[in-house]
Symmetry: C2
Subunit: 543 residues, 2 copies
Amino acid sequence: MTRSWWGWGNVEDAVRGPELAALLDRVRLLSAAEPEDHPPPPAASLALRPPRAKPPASLAGLCSADPADRAAHTHGKAFRDVVRNLHGDLRHPPDLVARPRDERDVADLLDWCTGAGVAAIPYGGGSSVVGGVEPRLADGRPAVTLDLERLDAVPEVDATSRAARIQAGVYGPRLAAQLRPHGLALRHFPQSFEFSTLGGWLATRAGGHYATLYTHIDDLVESLRVVSPAGTGESRRLPGSGAGPSPDRLFLGSEGALGVITEAWLRVQVRPRWRARASVRFGEFAAAVAATRAVAQSGLHPAACRLLDPAEALVNTGVSVGGGVLVLGFESADHPVGDRLARALELCRDHGGAPDAPEERDGGAGGSEGGDAADGGAGGGSGAGAAWRSAFLRMPYQRDALARHSMIAETFETACTWDAFDALHHAVTDAAHRAVRAATGATGVVTCRFTHVYPDGPAPYFGVIAPGRWGSTVAQWDDIKAAVSEAIAAHGGTITHHHAVGRDHRPWYDRQRPAPFAAALAAAKSALDPAGILNPGVLVPER
Amino acid sequence: MTRSWWGWGNVEDAVRGPELAALLDRVRLLSAAEPEDHPPPPAASLALRPPRAKPPASLAGLCSADPADRAAHTHGKAFRDVVRNLHGDLRHPPDLVARPRDERDVADLLDWCTGAGVAAIPYGGGSSVVGGVEPRLADGRPAVTLDLERLDAVPEVDATSRAARIQAGVYGPRLAAQLRPHGLALRHFPQSFEFSTLGGWLATRAGGHYATLYTHIDDLVESLRVVSPAGTGESRRLPGSGAGPSPDRLFLGSEGALGVITEAWLRVQVRPRWRARASVRFGEFAAAVAATRAVAQSGLHPAACRLLDPAEALVNTGVSVGGGVLVLGFESADHPVGDRLARALELCRDHGGAPDAPEERDGGAGGSEGGDAADGGAGGGSGAGAAWRSAFLRMPYQRDALARHSMIAETFETACTWDAFDALHHAVTDAAHRAVRAATGATGVVTCRFTHVYPDGPAPYFGVIAPGRWGSTVAQWDDIKAAVSEAIAAHGGTITHHHAVGRDHRPWYDRQRPAPFAAALAAAKSALDPAGILNPGVLVPER
């Protein structure tokens, strides 16, 4: 397999043939013009700016100045990243890509950067959709990207406490492969699972597999090890503590601006044995939302609780339904979970939902392989849920195919309290439609699903597909994104539930963040990174 | 009812009569000498140092210089606080007690303190057991205690999202009374419930009712409002977010050193309707621990999961059993929970446990009153569990009675991973016994229970009772506490799971806290409190 330099995942997995034809058929309704393909330029043709930094001899062996390597590390994987790559628009490549072998190398690289005034961009899988790894620096200083891929081991497993020490640069599949012989799993499956790393999940507070309870990676962290320019430290492995503010919570979500997370102890799970799942159709979206709220507040703790609105259900599962589909899944390594599903379905019926036949499964001792990233984390099955799950991992590839064909195809997400959801949903959907019309003159598709739900509110995830004008789709999307971000902020949502802040969410994050915390964060940054070299411009202003 | 100035709770609830006789009978085995009572000095006799600070006229109406008021605010409620009060040893009284009526008053008081170089000690119920509210300042500057008791309202309830806006100075019972008409409850019942406040719980990351899942108040927080000398701010109400490091988590556990928490949105619960509970006896403590670990890792999420070791079971429930008693309780507002209890009991039987007859109860629609603080949060019932629960709220009063009779009676607690527990338990118990012997020449009783359990480890809570020498019991306890704290640190435990750091835990906290977080915390403190007036000496060094 070959990693794509310009788009999602592996070159061999790109959308082509019948899948491409079907995809283009589905969007043909949106535009009169016949979509034209714009293939990516060869990496060799990009004529990147020459490197402006030279590492000391002691670190030269860790650093690559290869143009293809630098090109692949220039952008994240947002729509606007992919389109800029398609245009060969790589204005801010890293000057070097460094690949530390161990923590000592990380510290040495930070020392060099601090002394030389070179920015250091910590880099996991590079799947940021918020400009989090892009060396787009206002002051134009050189930048070195710290790709942690060599830190990919699981050096210790504590089966008694169900915890593992894991290096930050390990990708999802290799992490899973190292836990599997122990009968254990992290069970954290972001959509990016195959192409993102533990360190990236921690630094961005990634959202994972569990729709309830352990939604963010934060809750699975037992301790963190961090290298900052001001020094290295590790929190004690603890199941819980009340000794001062949580040290780990300051570094979770710090996006490489306060230090480089080099490894962590994570709480892991015994692979689930029992599963139960069903999909529920609703005639009215409001009823579907009410049912989802009832399930979220029931204390039943489903592992999957994904509400698809009618547009999402149609686009991604082919199901036509007036009010949406709720995909429910329960899992346990300890006990059958059919009774929990039954109670959740009862709550859905109370709100007018029509469940399909529940499926229950006993995977036998040792757990079953299903329910990993390959099916979006909720495991095999049939019906709307299964269709959804198989669509889930193709979405980024399809987004790339649409981007090549001048389409605007992107997502954004938030979270809000239940009392605020109706108004937020209406305002955001309305803002998206208006902005699409203003930017493109055409009508787009706006979809909504809940990726995670809490007793006090849902995390809605929106998709937008609209016909763009080749050469302008980034600017068109930026206008749409600004409009929906304003609507989110005006209705009490967070600028992101699990996509981080990076550079692109900064204007809204700066307004959302309480002033005392802003002052504390800036002070912490100055103390840990006095030269301001760490990922300048994310979270706090560049200096 | 009259609040005791020197000891726990209400004067009218002190241990006396037959309860006192029985208590003294139980400890008579520990000492040859007949225990002699040392009653507290009258508050009027204390001859406190005269106030050294004078508020400006605009704030004078908020401030009390009354000696009895100042005496009652001098110490927390640790054993060493109570004994010093009994001796009339109040060397560091606050110079004034201020009672702000609203947030504006809080800000004005902080402004005055900042300008005048007066320390400000935020104060909830004053139940700290770690010197957290004691104006014991190295530089001897004047101090004003900010008692938030007037901020005691619940101004907003959002029943849809199950959340409430609650002022920080409200005591547990008044908070519960304001939620009850809505059919809601916070269900956070620390042992101090009746005499502690929401703000205190938040500032110290209090541990509450739930033995699993929502163990600390942290998990129930939707947003916080904080007044710091550098400004005021409030986080957005959000069920979850990934926008930068959590702003709330920096102020949870900040112990009044970074700002004054004036109010918060808390996630609340529908009062539980279904309950099920049982107690399980074990022949061996190791088997009891293994069973508890199995339950903690099962995903059954019991509300109560309290393992009492044989000494704890004997002292506090009168049950004589070789390996300990596990008290299990489940609760739900949505569904019966008997099946969950049954599975937990099966896990216990797998480890040799002998359950008593499970009790199941349907409290009917609207929930039942049981299970509130009056029974320690796990609700009525019979057997060892019920005996435990009725003992639970008497413990601080009994501690005071023992303190008056020259006994050393105190607790300490920690948390560690399961793989570390056996060694930690052995070392801490051994250190406690040795230290008791060294300090007193006598043999003491050392008990252990788990207050909270996690998939990756328990939170053990230890009790020590030993005969002391009147006039020396504080120094004797301080020696014992230092010895057990060293043993905890050496075996990977936290210096506190839910009693905070204050001034007394600082030496061990300073070693436990990772260096990068220490630097960040100190920088945050300087940014938010440039004059260093906020509770100087807790968490970070006094300046």
